[in-house]
Amino acid sequence: MRLCASKAVLAVLAFLVLLAPAGAPLAEPLRIESWRSDDRDIWSGVIIPAFNKRYPDIAVKFTPSPPREYDASLNARLAGGTAGDLITCRPFDASLKLFKAGHLVALDDLKGLARFRDVARAAWRTDDGKVTYCLPMASVIHGFIYNRRIFEELKLSVPKTVSEFFATLDKIKAQGRYTPLAMGTADQWEAATMGFQNIGPNYWKGEQGRRQLVSGDARLSDPPYVATLAQLARWRPYLGRGFTAQSYADSQTLFTLGRAAIYPAGSWEIANFRKLADFPFDAFPPPVPDGAQDCYISDHTDIGIGINAASTNRKQARVFLEWMTTKEFATLFANALPGFFPLSDHKLVLNDPLAQTFLNWRQMCKSTIRNSYQILSRGTPNLENEIWNVSAQVINGTLSPRAGAEKLQQGLAAWYPPHRR
């Protein structure tokens, strides 16, 4: 009789054991870790089938995590030894940390790596430049997407300078039917990424300014940064009602429903907007400050891919990466995901005209990357977090552009030696 209790306990325990994974199947597919859950259909429907045409024996599975939770959950899985074979790499320090912790393998012997520009590789190699640990995949370009129907209706032309930009915004606002600029500050990163990093390179002269920040020869409190924030502050009257509570998704919806004229954008929006909007839209690069000769764009190296050091399929993973350096992959990827621009030197034809427009800016303007990504976000307080906070506050009007720039500089100087001199 006493047995019945032990039996019940045993039954529950047995059930728990059953929940543990069954033995590994014979041919484990390569698993790709990624935060691009939006792209799941494209990977499983287009890219992987194309790979399998060439390599039918290597099964591949794209297993993305939600973008916001990617880093935390990837780290947990790497620590637990259950992460996928291929790991999508954030640029710079996040991946450098993974490499230093021994989670990523060196890729310098990858033949196709030679086809990638130095700028692209810079995002995924050690500080001394000796080891590359992720294959560059794509960059994204910032600019402004606008509703062509509204522009035609209001007889607006595409603004080239900052004054023209604000004149255009004034006209839209005066007409009163449309929100001039579709952006909110609720999620903060819109203000930082689509605002600060979008228009800023024109003020700090792209790479030149970014390098000076890293070397300590320029300060975040210098005029270019104050001017960037000052322009953001001037956006305020043109944003939607209650923009402080407007989320990223709200902004996207506002624009794609045809209620807003201009959307401060990243090129990754193209595919989604094509699905959602029923009006023609186009894009212009960040307007240059009046009198400036050169234009600069944020052409940010955003996605790379590396091999999990703990993978039991490293050989096959290498085959996959080698394939990812080919023109075939670059063409597939760029056209399946318009707005993500491959970083190899293959000559590509893009089917999406708007994606081609963004890409053409590379010829017109000088490219740079977001200035908080390399080295400058290694300490506490974290510069990227600070830029989110300050950009949102400056737009909200709770911080003046000058005070915002001072706050950024103070935060950086608190820990970064070149700025402590």
Partner: protein, 320 residues
Amino acid sequence: MSIALTGHAVERGREGPGRPPRRVLALFLLPAVAVYSVFSIYPLLATIALSTRKTNAAGLSEFAGLANFIRLFFDPNWSDAFWNALANNTLFFVIHMAVQNPIAIALAALLSLPGLRARAFYRTAIFLPATLSVVIVGFVWQLILSPLWGVSEGLMSAVGLGGWFAPWLGREGSALVVLSLMSVWQFVGIPMLLIHAALINIPDDLTDAALVDGAGHWRIFWTIKLPLVAPTIGLVSILTFVGNFNAFDLIYAVKGALAGPNFSTDILGTFFYRTFFGHQLQAGDPAMGAAVATVMFVIILAGVAVYLLAFQRRLKGSNP
């Protein structure tokens, strides 16, 4: 603690059965105590231990004493965020105490009125939000409060209050209050149910005499029933305290780990998450995260201790 439970001598209790065989005792206690110790107590102890360590220049973990706590309390890069989160968390708790519990008591009192019709319906409807996930709660209220889609503004205009509408979730001064109220909306059913149960368990003879004396329900509630359910209200308060000081989900779902605007909605749970797991380009710092967790642990224990002391003292006072 396994020593305690397999305890050699099983005393004979006053009303208990004869000595239960040790095997029986172990069989009954072991599964619960084992799972609980391994997956709850041990991790908590490990957190406390981790908070005294740091990663040195060579990337190795070494003992750091109280250095992490000193940084947390006195290095402005950490302490500003910490005190801000603590202050916000306190406000979060105060709003729950000031809004959730009175509403819960009021609803419970109404629900406990004798002869009330549709009681089951009301009870179920009011509790229903407590069964929803924060993903849903956050999403719905953002939609309702959004200035763009006009749900709440339209409703307010309909009753002539349109001019009072503001994007509350986006303002430093009001975002945390709104989030607290969203949380109150979701969880009010739990204290309501507990207090309701306590109220209907009050024996009728205690109130009958007062009824005969002509006292109304209102008076009976204040003078007889409310004092009787005070222990339940105390229990509800401490559960609220514990729940609020490790809250995380709702703020994270609505505002993200950076808890904007300008950290005005940052509470200890989001601060812990950001510190431990990192955020965007900010690398996670497990040891500092553990220090934050340990402080949360101490705050919660202190709150519970205060409650137990106050509660027991009062019990002693009322039942000498």
